[in-house]
Amino acid sequence: MRLSSEETAMLNGEMGEPRRWAMQHMVQVGRFFDAEDCVKVSQAHMMADTESLGEAGVELIEGLARHGEADRRVRIPMITDPRGIDFKHYRTLKQTDAMAELERRAVTAFEALGILMTDTCINYQTIMPPVRGEHLAYGDTGVVIYCNSVLGAHSNFEGGPSALAAGLTGRTPRYGLHLAGNRRATRRYRVEFQPQSLSDWGAVGGIVGKRTGSYWDVPVIEGITAQPTSDDLKHMGAAMASFGSVPLFHLVGITPEAPTLEAVCDPKTLAAEPVTGRDLADFFGNYGGKGEKVDVVVFSAPQLSIVEMRQLADLLDGHKVHKGTTLLAVTSPVVAADATRFGITRRIEEAGGLVLQGMCFYQSYAREMAIANGWKRLLTNSVKLVNIIGGYGYQPSLASMQDCVRSAIAGEIV
């Protein structure tokens, strides 16, 4: 890799040990992916939950945080993904004091590095949305795919250590989606139905993601005439990234790099693969459970926007969640503040639900919560969550937000 004089100085430790560590990490990753040099990035976003970090990760951050302020502070605006603990409610969820203590240590260390603890995976809806062409070092696959696809920004998937390295150096290795040639479509899908709900949009993402199945392929989607909202594309992107590790999609006529099909591919050489109504039905059919007792209904992954929070409150008004079922609505601290101000949190909680902030369900010691609470059957409208949560010992089921709420009230999957 070609390094600038400043990058070389960082690598040689002339700008402190944290930046030496960061530059060395970036060179290792850059060489692995044949990066020729680094690209300057304007923001970093990092996974910061302690279930992922573990004791070892927290100790690593604490070690960096012990350096002098000039050496340890990040050089660009740097924010965090959801953590694992809502300190107000963790005991209700039967998370342990040890989990909360590890999380407190992590927060203290991150703050010492100058990181803003936004604790959100919907920063593109709530904090500072990137603009087209902006180079970023973002973590959370849902954040990356949305910002690349819907906003036209340029980011690879940056895991926690790489996002941190980018924050400390203001750079990331130039490979993958930082190169224009890697943003052209390599797979083409024609959707033969119109998504009707957030979970339908998620299912389209899940189907396309599963078929694409590679970080290095870019799907272009045609056939959708319905106008999507930000929440629709949030669910579609998050599911696509989850099922296929896909970091970028184009939606013809909607996303900025694909005003036409021809703008992102040669239609004569790239045949369209159909995505049919039967595919959609089969996708939902993978997640059964109808008529079974539901232990926990989860709205999370991604965190809910204020619009989703109000939709949920509207559906719950005048009803009570069944006493054998737990209903969780998970959002960002910014949205939670608004939801409280607007009376939305009160309405959800009066119906028996619990509003959680700054965390995400699957990043929150989900296995330990399942054991402690006796949760097995989980119902959600998040396609991303049903893909993840099976590995944590849950039996996941998928339904629209409306049917999730009806099931939570009935105590069984309707």
């Binding site: 990490h25 290792q28 990753v29 060489r31 692995f32 992916f33 996974m47 939950d49 279930e51 992922s52 970090l53 573990g54 004791e55 070892a56 990760g57 690593l60 993904d81 973590g139 959370d140 696959t141 690879n156 998937f157 940056e158 895991g159 926690g160 250590p161 790489s162 490979y175 993958g176 199945g213 590679s214 970080y215 290095w216 990234a241 989850s242 099922f243 296929g244 590790s245 699957y362 990043q363 296995r367 893909n387 993840i388 099976g390 590995g391 944590y392 010992g393």
Partner: protein
């Protein structure tokens, strides 16, 4: 005993040896593993119930989220990690995680599908710095 030498892209991590555990399925530390027990836990995964600890894990590609980057480091810190992971193609997250965890990782094999070239139970030496994997069976 036959010795097969496979060429791949230059990788990361140290030179290691071990016994192969192979699948044509994909891999995510978050989605697929019980990291406390050191086994594949997602029921639909083709290696469900198998221990990956100290094995040379051979899989098709990476999937899912960014968590694996921290998780490989955490798993290695407890001695509950694979010695190496070989992919046909890896995504950035797993490569970043291997770099942090000092775990051997290689991909892009010149000789074809690595999940067919190596069989579970083979003895495997992984040399990331030179982009070479030696298989004894």
């Amino acid at each position: 005993m036959a010795l097969i030498e496979l060429k791949c892209h230059l990788g990361v991590g140290p030179k290691v040896s071990g016994t192969a555990l192979v699948t044509d399925d994909n891999f995510s530390a978050r989605y697929d593993l019980d990291r406390i027990k050191g086994i594949f836990s997602r029921p639909q995964h083709k290696l469900a119930g198998e221990s990956y600890v100290d094995r040379i894990l051979v899989v098709n590609t990476a999937k899912g989220g960014v968590a694996s980057a921290w998780m490989l480091h955490e798993m290695a810190s407890r001695g509950m990690a694979p010695r190496a992971i070989l992919f046909n193609t890896v995504n950035p997250i797993l490569a970043q995680g291997a770099a942090l965890a000092n775990m051997a990782m290689c991909d892009r094999f010149a000789d074809g599908d690595v999940t067919r070239l190596i069989m579970s139970g083979d003895e495997v030496e992984v040399d990331p710095a030179n982009g070479i994997v030696r298989v004894t069976r």
